[in-house]
Symmetry: C2
């Protein structure tokens, strides 16, 4: 009996094959697998690709292994039960009999908190909070760059760019440090040249959001405006967490809120104000960085599906990781 | 001798042919003429189309009239001197010897304030403030929906939609009135269906911004959240005006700030907070609705180019308008 956890994301797919005790037998990677963008066939293609790496590393024969596997997949863009049911069905002809499909925030949360209940705030290019408490789950935010995504990397970059444009038309005092950073990242000599770059179609949120890393660097160097922007992002992300905690009845409970995603590489500039926001509403909740990644989260989801004890799984994953087999878990 | 004022906009072009005293001889309309979108050739095509209406209504022969005309054109998307020079040159082969090109905010301002100096805040789908004081001009905002456009129709619609999404994931209490309005305008049964609609490419800002009219209606009906959103828009637009006034050294001066564009059809909900914002910084500036439209503004620009007295021009335009020749000035 094996657990196979798969993280299907918009840019790549990761598969992790383990024993029932979480010992990693193999790992594989595949192409993009977003339900909305790539469709069911695209998801299947990338998953097959990622699984090939598992068979190769583990030395297991696919045909023999598959019937013994409990498969859990987190798929970005597949938030609705109907979409998840469609994906579940699509895996039956592949020989899998025990399949559980969730969306990507669900497995990110399970990975981050080693399979236990709680709330995760995921801040990559966009932002979303997701929580599980017993049979209930709740999402907050994640409505994209026009209607939501507060505190995400794209949002952070826009805050900085808006300051530059406001300084350009003299609504704000000039900020030479920020201006130089924008010129250098976006390769322009004048802020007005940003306009065609930013409004280019299709809108490249990943590229624009990448500027948030520079904001993190500037904050480290003592740049006040960058520190303010990141503190604001932290408060926004804290509020997402608080909403999820409140909705799930966890504000009085002891627990952990996981901070997942690239935005948190800015460290304390985001984490401290986020923690403060959470502490005010839920003083017994502790902010934490993820224990494991989302692929490991899918392994926990498979283990939960089998009603396994989770601490040995976590132990197995941790062991494998410290032994180098799964060093980037 | 004649004045020919032309307003080249992203959706249509309007031409207005007058005597040196502003008496309207003819009017014409043409297609879209945005410099960035339609290029110089597109602008020329729509201008020729609009001018045909002027010849037809005035009974003037084009070949005889053209040498006697001072032509002023305001072109959307043509903000830089180099672009304006390129357009000026493009009209010389058409037989025009006296040509002045400005961007669309410039002629909107001149129309709104009957050719006099001051500041205009233009709030359509986007927002921008533009001011003239003697030889100086200054723009504030107008950096598009990602970096600016605060208080514009698209911005207003997004504020409302963000509230709906926040209520949907229970960050805000449900607002049944707003929810019903959104469902009806966007023809959805559930807020989550907004996501594919809103993020459809190309982004239809005009359509989404059109929802701001509903916000105006709801405010009239006593809906608190709509009133708040419009008040916020008004304050944002007031701040644009204040920045332009400050930059041009007009905060201590008596004068008028013109409120141009569809957003102001919401009336007092936007105008009162906007006026308050202006009064705080520039107590002798009065907020006003436009005297004339942008095509008439281009006529004023032509008159200024000839160093004509402007009050007879304004009088002529007003007379023509009350006599029905130019009833939609």
């Amino acid at each position: 009996m094996y657990l196979l956890g798969i993280d299907c994301g918009g840019t790549s797919t990761e598969a992790l094959l383990t024993t029932l005790e979480g010992r990693v037998l193999g790992r594989g990677h595949g192409g993009p697998a977003n339900y909305t963008v790539n469709g069911v066939s695209g998801v299947l293609r990338s998953v097959r690709e990622a699984m090939r790496g598992c068979w190769a590393q583990s030395g297991l024969e696919e045909a023999e292994a598959v019937p013994q596997i409990t498969l859990a997949i987190g798929v970005s863009g597949a938030g609705r039960p109907s979409e998840q049911a469609e994906l579940t069905e699509a895996f039956h002809p592949e020989g899998f009999t025990r399949v559980v499909v969730a969306h990507d925030a669900h497995i990110a949360l399970l990975g981050a908190l080693s399979g236990t209940d709680g709330v995760a705030v995921i801040a990559g290019t966009g932002s979303i909070a997701y929580g599980i408490h017993g049979e209930r789950s709740h999402r907050v935010g994640g409505w994209g760059y026009l209607l939501g995504d507060e505190g995400g990397a794209f949002w952070i970059a826009l805050q900085a760019l808006r300051r530059v444009m406001r300084a350009y038309d003299r609504r704000l005092p000039e900020d030479q440090v920020l201006l130089e950073a924008v010129k250098s990242y976006f390769n322009v000599v004048d802020p007005s040249e940003l306009i065609p770059l930013i409004y280019k179609t299709p809108l490249d949120r990943g590229y624009i959001g990448g500027f948030s890393k520079t904001i993190g660097t500037l904050a480290d160097q003592g740049h006040g405006a960058s520190q303010e922007i990141l503190a604001d992002a932290g408060r926004q992300l804290g509020r997402l967490a608080v909403s999820a905690l409140a909705e799930l009845g966890l504000t009085k409970t002891e627990g952990r809120v996981a901070a997942c995603g690239g935005v948190f590489s800015a460290g304390r500039w985001v984490l401290v104000p986020m923690e403060e926001e959470i502490r005010l509403a839920a003083p017994r909740q502790r902010l934490t960085l993820p224990d494991f990644n989302a692929a490991a989260g899918a392994v926990f989801l498979a283990a939960r599906h089998l009603c396994l004890e989770l601490s040995p799984v976590a132990e197995g994953l941790r062991e494998s990781s410290s032994h180098g087999v799964a060093r980037d878990v």
